[in-house]
Amino acid sequence: MLSRLFTMSSAPEFNIDYVANLARLSLTSEEKEKFSRQLGDVLHHIEQLAKVDVTGVEPTAHAFPVENVWADDRPRPGLTVADALLNAPAQCANMISVPKVVD
């Protein structure tokens, strides 16, 4: 298992600008270069999964079956306004303030 990990060559196609934009993550050029190389290695390793025969195998999302849990639609005490705003980076008149979204 170890030797397999340390004999990595070319990375699969991976466009870091495209993925970083999807993730809403602004990266420096150094980070782009470094992460591309490191994640290329990881992705190359992950390619090994393509060799596993999964014909007819059902996917597992949770180790145990998870069912929807329904709750009665009844109001109950929640966070106070003060608690809900406790960690807001900026606030005004009991609301969280953000930059203008629509001109």
């Binding site: 999807l22 602004s26 994640l39 180790a63």
Partner: protein, 488 residues
Amino acid sequence: MSSDIFYQTISSLAAQLAAKKLTSVELMQAVIARTKAVDDRVRAFNSYDEGDALVQAAASDARRAASQSRGPLDGIPIGLKDVIAVAGQPLTASSKMLANFVSPYDATVTRKLKEQAGAVVWGRLNCDEFAMGSSNENSAFRPVSNPWDLTRVPGGSSGGSAAALAAGEAIATLGSDTGGSIRQPAALCGIVGMKPTYGLISRYGLIAFASSLDQIGPFARTVEDAALVLGAIAGHDPLDSTSFNAPVPDYRRELAVKKGPWKIGIPKEYFAEGLDPEVGAAVEAAIAHYKKQGCEIKDVSLPNTQSCLDTYYIIATAEASSNLARYDGIRYGHRSKAATDAIDIYAKSRAEGFGAEVKRRIILGTYVLSTGYYDAYYLRAQKVRTLIRQDFLNAYQEVDVLLTPTSPIPAFKLGEKSDPLALYLCDIYTIGVNLAGLPAMSVPCGFTKSGLPLGLQLIGQPFQEANLMAIAQSYEQAHEWGCRHPSL
């Protein structure tokens, strides 16, 4: 057992408290003094609130004086990994993103410890940022040191929880385990660490990393102590839709009842290339011990073991990329001052707030979920997860429990592993358990020649924690590895 009060077990301290030979306030004061004496070197705590802890301890003493003790944990200082919410206290996940965050509510485990068990919730323990890592070096604040050798890592991601307990800065602690984050640091720090069955413990108030894998669990000095803490935090919670609805047994009583001999499976794939010879020898000695006790030792195979690492890093990063989308600089957490518009707030706040490993995992997770790659990576990984889980269930047709090393290597030097893949390899023996949702624990099984602790892993059947702990205890009680303490 050590005469130092801060190195004693819950069961011993509970007896002294009940006999009025000790007060909770005295115990808390001893733990605070110890923490002040050693934590500048161990760096296990992100923060603690001395005054609040003493108020909780005094309340415990008052309950005891009024004959209203809530049981063996009443007045025992228990530290929490800094991903578990405590109302009115900081909650940082060791990330700049949440450096100033104060939790407005208690996690369910916090509430149970405080209100039902009467424990003193003591401090918030350092960890890898958002619980992503195996060395605790990904903390945005400072790395934790291993109390047995301050130049080495304590393991991760719950490194602070393990180091604090090993150093006598708490009597028990909680961590979270997504791919080995309780068991691996427990092994590297010479204590007991347990990852319960997925669903046994509510995740409400636990900062999410990978929701289908995350599980809270205890660190303790003995299996019996772990049983006490587990019993206090387990149980159904309507606030966590994945929480399992079944009565919680009295684990300590079960420990006294369950007796061997057991059938113990040895998965050959876990004794392969990369296993440190000293770790291997200690685990072999433990196998010999069980054999001598009359247990049947059986070789088993988990043929999909070599796919565990790949499957894990697809599923865990995919879930993380989704979970961590909530940190956008709008409602809470770090907001960039350099941002010009709404989208820019997201991208720049996340760039400034997250560290390198978190960014790497978000990018990898976003990629494996993105259009055109979903089927090849994420869906395929979920199918392989089925095969991995089936391997374990097949093995349990023949054996009661599986025995493996916890970590392939003892504690390594701080800064030694800078390549992400090299660090990911530290988890190869622990991640399969999370993918299969099984309970597992690490128990001390010796020391290297240079004095570093070693751990063995026992992997149990779903919701059979009592059996698992009984098997662990039968080994523990025949050895005294856990009675040693680091010289600090």
